[in-house]
């Protein structure tokens, strides 16, 4: 009996890993950029209060 979902071939598996790595790097960059932005916003808000 065939497997469901079908097991990916080595080439497909390598491609999926490459795509996943691309997504993870993109997410990391977004999170770092957000952390920098929130830090900058905090400095601006504290500056206004001072």
């Amino acid at each position: 009996m065939s497997e469901f979902p079908p097991r990916p071939t080595p080439i497909e598996a390598a491609d999926m890993i490459r795509r996943q790595r691309g997504r993870n790097v993109a997410l990391l960059l977004v999170l770092v950029a957000l952390a920098v932005l929130f830090f900058a916003i905090t400095l601006v808000k504290l500056g206004h209060m001072g």
């Binding site: 795509r19 997504r23 916003i41 808000k45």
Partner: protein, 333 residues
């Protein structure tokens, strides 16, 4: 033309909202999600980057035109929130319209109908980004800008996408308001309030939307018809659409010169708006006078409508660049 669409034309007409839902043709298989095939670019495409670029541009001009000062970091945050909210609304639109997107040539390669992104994930992505953009706008910039931002998302998703788009040929006219909010939001980010000038900018984008989309729908109406979307050419025919494009372009040209006529901008903007308006009216006139057969279908592949669609993009860009240039001239010369 399907019976449903003919009914939409009868009961909705040009002014009504009472048309029936024109369901996509039966027998089309729902898109199949293929796990592991999504790339980061697909998640980016889900945000409709080309639409976002236009929204960011008009939002930036609204922010720049506003009197008063805003810290550059907060200005950047406001523009980022406008961009993310527009993208999130685009993602929610793609999630809701995945059935008809799969039927149209223009949209069938989008991430959800192509099976690269799971609809549930797209929905979660759109909701999360919508909430996040409104929260950050409210906490970092001000409550007025955040409120208008939330209204713009709700308008695009609930009023345009869910309620109007499949029910009435007036979908673009009323739904066009959703794309007109960014200059208001940009202005509100600086001032914390709304004034006459940003409302005029809202009016310019509002009246620009129908001729822009109807020019596109003139040469893409087979696609819309196949998907059961009651766009004006599908329901009322190409001839009526040509008349409506011309009428709305005249209205747009009048609204575009109002900021100068009412004294909110200088002569530079007045001259630019007049010249651009005349050019756009000329394009719309060529669409109106296009050589057609008895059904109103163009004999030369809708060359005039294609030109008008491209000109409409240049027109809007020109109007907003002229607004910014006029302010620079007023401030520094």
């Amino acid at each position: 033309m399907s019976t449903a669409l003919r009914n939409a034309g009868r009961s909705g007409g040009l002014g009504g909202l009472g048309g029936v839902y024109a369901a996509p043709p039966k027998g089309t298989a729902p898109p199949v999600f293929l796990a592991g095939t999504d790339r980061w670019q697909d998640w980016f495409l889900l945000l409709k980057p080309r639409v976002v670029s236009l929204v960011v541009f008009t939002g930036c001009v609204g922010l720049f035109m506003a009197p008063g000062r805003i810290h550059p970091v907060l200005a950047f945050t406001a523009v980022l929130c406008i961009a993310v909210a527009a993208g999130a609304a685009g993602a929610l639109n793609m999630w809701y319209e995945r059935d008809i997107d799969a039927l149209m040539q223009r949209t069938r390669r989008r991430p959800i109908p192509a099976g690269r992104i799971d609809p549930g994930s797209a929905l979660a992505y759109g909701v999360a980004l919508s909430v996040a953009s409104v929260l950050v706008m409210g906490l970092a910039v001000n409550l007025c800008a955040a409120t208008i931002l939330a209204i713009s998302i709700a308008f695009y998703v609930l009023i345009y996408t869910v309620w109007l788009k499949r029910r009435t040929p007036q979908n673009i006219v009323i739904g066009g308001a959703a794309g007109a909010f960014p200059p208001l939001i940009g202005w509100a980010a600086v001032t914390g309030s709304v004034d006459v000038l940003p409302l005029l900018l809202f009016g310019i984008v509002f009246f620009w939307t129908p001729p822009h989309f109807w020019a596109l729908s003139l040469y893409a109406c087979k696609d819309y018809g196949r998907a059961g979307v009651p766009m004006l050419p599908v329901v009322c025919g190409a001839r009526e659409t040509r008349r409506q494009i011309f009428g709305y372009t005249l209205l747009l040209a009048v609204v575009s010169v109002l900021p100068w006529a009412l004294g909110y901008t200088g002569a530079l903007y007045g001259a630019a708006a007049s010249v651009l308006g005349a050019g756009f009216i000329l394009c719309a006139w060529r669409v109106l006078r296009d050589q057609c057969d008895t059904a109103g279908t163009s004999r030369d592949g809708d060359a005039a409508a294609r030109l008008t669609f491209r000109c409409s993009l240049l027109y809007l860009a020109g109007i907003f660049v002229a607004l910014a240039a006029d302010k620079i001239v007023t401030l520094y010369l």
